[in-house]
């Protein structure tokens, strides 16, 4: 029996099994991804919410209440209260490390600072408020919605989106383009001419810099018009972070595209790099959700350096001095990857 329907199903299974990269993407990658995300959110079975507590106006009564909140085990979600000065608390909020600030007021009252647009913050507020009703002092909370620029979730998100855009544009634009030209034998044809190879790769980099600039400026203008997101720090610092970010991902793109000769393998490698960075690097949520040891590594990943640098300038009013470390590290990523990529580049 040679049934056509059975055959039509069977050939697809054969195709699937005989292409190792598809096996990787379909089976191993989702498992790995689930593992990584689980590490971030499912630590000790519960979500840990970090709440900053402004400590300058601590009264004995409010201290007792916070101890109560901390000790209480009936919460499904765990709360960790961190003492901070007023400035520190708001900086942490801007960086996304906390979404809620608790400010003790006299006589055991509290005021809550959070962005009402932020779902997680609202949830934390409701839980804590409910809990406080059970204390002798009762629920005597004031809400201070945070609507100042630089502290809202959208302010956290936009620089992250710009960083993500730079990464995707560079790695897909340069990396995919080079792999495709290699498959078409166009690279091979080009290097048979006196064309300079360094010039060739630099041209890709410069093109991408200009294209990224258009993409990011449009995004920034959109955010400005619709959400009133502003750049609080120096424009020079912003451009420096941006430029070194493009340099970093331009270099990474050339390294990523240095070897692949097949589209499946090429897109596999590109996906792996971009997806892992996107998930790890705190574009949508702060990477302090990961265990401390992981966060310590994550803060030096290129996408994290870029997103954090952009956030510092946009939301915290940082100048060149505050972001020079990020710039240098990004530049180092770019130079090292470009050099390594050039060394192992497969022209044909």
């Amino acid at each position: 029996m040679n049934n056509s329907f059975v055959n039509l199903v069977a050939i697809q299974f054969r195709e699937f099994i005989r292409e190792p990269s598809s096996l990787f993407w379909a089976l191993l990658f989702p498992i790995g991804l689930a593992g990584v995300l689980g590490l971030a959110f499912a630590e000790k079975g519960n979500v840990t919410n970090r709440v900053a507590v402004i400590m300058n106006s601590y009264s004995q009564a409010s201290k007792k209440q916070i101890d109560f909140l901390q000790r209480d085990a009936t919460f499904d979600t765990r709360f960790v209260f961190k003492d901070a000065s007023r400035d520190q608390a708001f900086t942490q909020l801007k960086r996304g490390a906390v979404s809620l600030i608790l400010e003790p007021l006299p006589a055991g009252k509290f005021s809550f600072h959070f962005d009402p647009q932020n779902e997680a913050a609202r949830m934390q507020y409701l839980l804590l408020e409910k809990k406080l009703q059970q204390t002798p002092e009762g629920a005597v909370a004031e809400i201070h919605p945070i609507t100042t620029q630089g502290s809202r979730y959208i302010d956290f998100l936009i620089p992250g989106m710009i960083a993500l855009g730079v990464m995707n544009s560079c790695i897909w634009g340069i990396g995919w383009g080079l792999i495709e030209w290699r498959i078409r034998k166009l690279l091979r044809r080009m290097i048979a001419t006196p064309m300079s190879r360094v010039e060739f790769l630099l041209a890709h980099f410069v093109t991408r810099l200009l294209l990224c600039l258009i993409e990011s400026v449009s995004l920034l203008l959109f955010a400005r018009l619709i959400f009133d997101v502003t750049v609080q720090g120096s424009n020079i610092a912003l451009f420096a972070v941006y430029l070194t970010g493009v340099a970093a991902f331009g270099g990474i793109a050339i390294l990523v595209a240095a070897r692949p000769q097949k589209t499946q393998i090429g897109s596999g490698i590109i996906n792996m790099v971009t997806l892992s960075l996107m998930i790890l690097s705190g574009v949508f949520f702060n990477y302090t959700n990961f265990p401390v040891w992981a966060a310590r590594i994550i803060q030096f990943l290129p996408l994290t350096l870029l997103a954090d640098g952009l956030r510092a300038v946009c939301n915290e009013g940082a100048g060149l001095v505050q972001v020079v470390g990020n710039c240098l590290l990004l530049l180092a990523y770019g130079v090292i990857c470009f050099w390594a990529g050039l060394r192992v580049f497969r022209w044909h």
């Binding site: 030209w181 034998k185 166009l186 091979r188 044809r189 048979a192 001419t193 006196p194 064309m195």
Partner: protein
């Protein structure tokens, strides 16, 4: 022009080129002829500097790739087997791009456009070109820098006869005008026969034969061919008595293939014999030997297999 000495190149154990030596003089039009997998492309790409020989040396105009890559790149015009260009770039822009690598102005692109007969396609995207037009563009790129050495890897494979002939004409024009050395790989014997003065036959990485077509045929496959189909079988002794017969073979009962030194000598006598035996000739075909006969004589296989 080109001096190849004892070159060997293997790919995971398989010897694509096996201890091959070849000398090509300036101004020669040389065809590398052989079936698929004979090593033609590997040999050409080693001359082009795109692959490195495992052992042996290749010198072009006295220079090797190790010493003078920049000089050699300027010396050559090449077309690879089936290059695809940037889809959404026009023919003119593609020529401008490659011209810029040689430091040539856009005027040269227009000259080349005319030379390859694609003036009307100058503004078309390369993705919209036919196979023949794409090969012409590949040839045009090879001609941009007016190279003294032109290396074309299967320039007409997959093209229809018309497109093939158009490409041949461009190359023949070039032959008349300037002193170019051409190395061309092909598995079409007509192409080798039509374009080239010298034919190098490759098989399994080695040179089987090398020389002008007539000289090759003389030394490896003497004679001319008469193919005959008759109404009744011809007696064997009549056949063997024919003048100038080199060999003969029979296919079925009534088809006979005769190899003779000279058709004009043998044919009249053959026809006389047929008449006197009252055997009717159903079909007669007379031809000179071709490269395909030559290849069969040398390897027992056909070129296009």
């Amino acid at each position: 022009m080109i001096e190849i000495s004892s070159v060997t190149k293997a790919f995971s154990g398989f010897r694509a080129i096996d201890n091959l030596s070849l000398h090509i003089r300036s101004g020669e039009y040389v065809a590398l002829l052989g079936p698929n997998g004979a090593g033609k492309t590997t040999l050409v790409e080693m001359i082009e500097g795109l692959q490195k020989p495992d052992s042996g040396t290749i010198a072009v105009m006295g220079k090797t790739w190790k010493q003078n890559p920049a000089y050699l790149r300027n010396l050559m015009g090449i077309s690879l087997q089936e290059t695809r260009f940037i889809d959404k770039l026009t023919v003119g822009e593609t020529l401008d791009l490659f011209g810029s690598f040689y430091g040539l102005g856009k005027g040269r692109s227009r000259e080349v456009l005319q030379l390859i007969g694609l003036e009307e396609k100058g503004r078309s995207f390369t993705v919209n070109l036919s196979g023949g037009q794409r090969q012409k563009l590949a040839l045009g790129i090879a001609l941009l820098n007016q190279p003294p050495l032109l290396l074309l890897d299967e320039p007409t494979t997959g093209l229809d006869p018309n497109a093939r002939r158009e490409l041949w004409e461009i190359l023949m024009t070039l032959k008349g005008q300037q002193r170019t050395t051409l190395i061309l790989t092909t598995h079409y014997m007509e192409e080798a026969q039509y374009l080239c003065d010298r034919i190098v036959i490759l098989d399994r990485g080695q040179i089987l034969a090398d020389g002008a077509l007539s000289a090759l045929l003389d030394s490896f496959a003497k004679g001319e061919i008469i193919e005959l189909e008759t109404s009744h079988p011809m007696p064997e002794n009549t056949l063997q008595a024919l003048p100038g017969l080199i060999e003969w073979s029979q296919e079925g009962t009534s088809k006979i293939k005769l190899t003779v030194t000279n058709i004009t000598l043998t044919l009249p006598i053959l026809l006389d014999k047929l008449r006197s035996l009252t055997i009717e000739a159903v079909a007669i075909e007379c031809r000179k030997k071709t490269l395909d006969d030559l290849f069969v004589a040398m390897t027992g296989r056909r070129l296009n297999e």
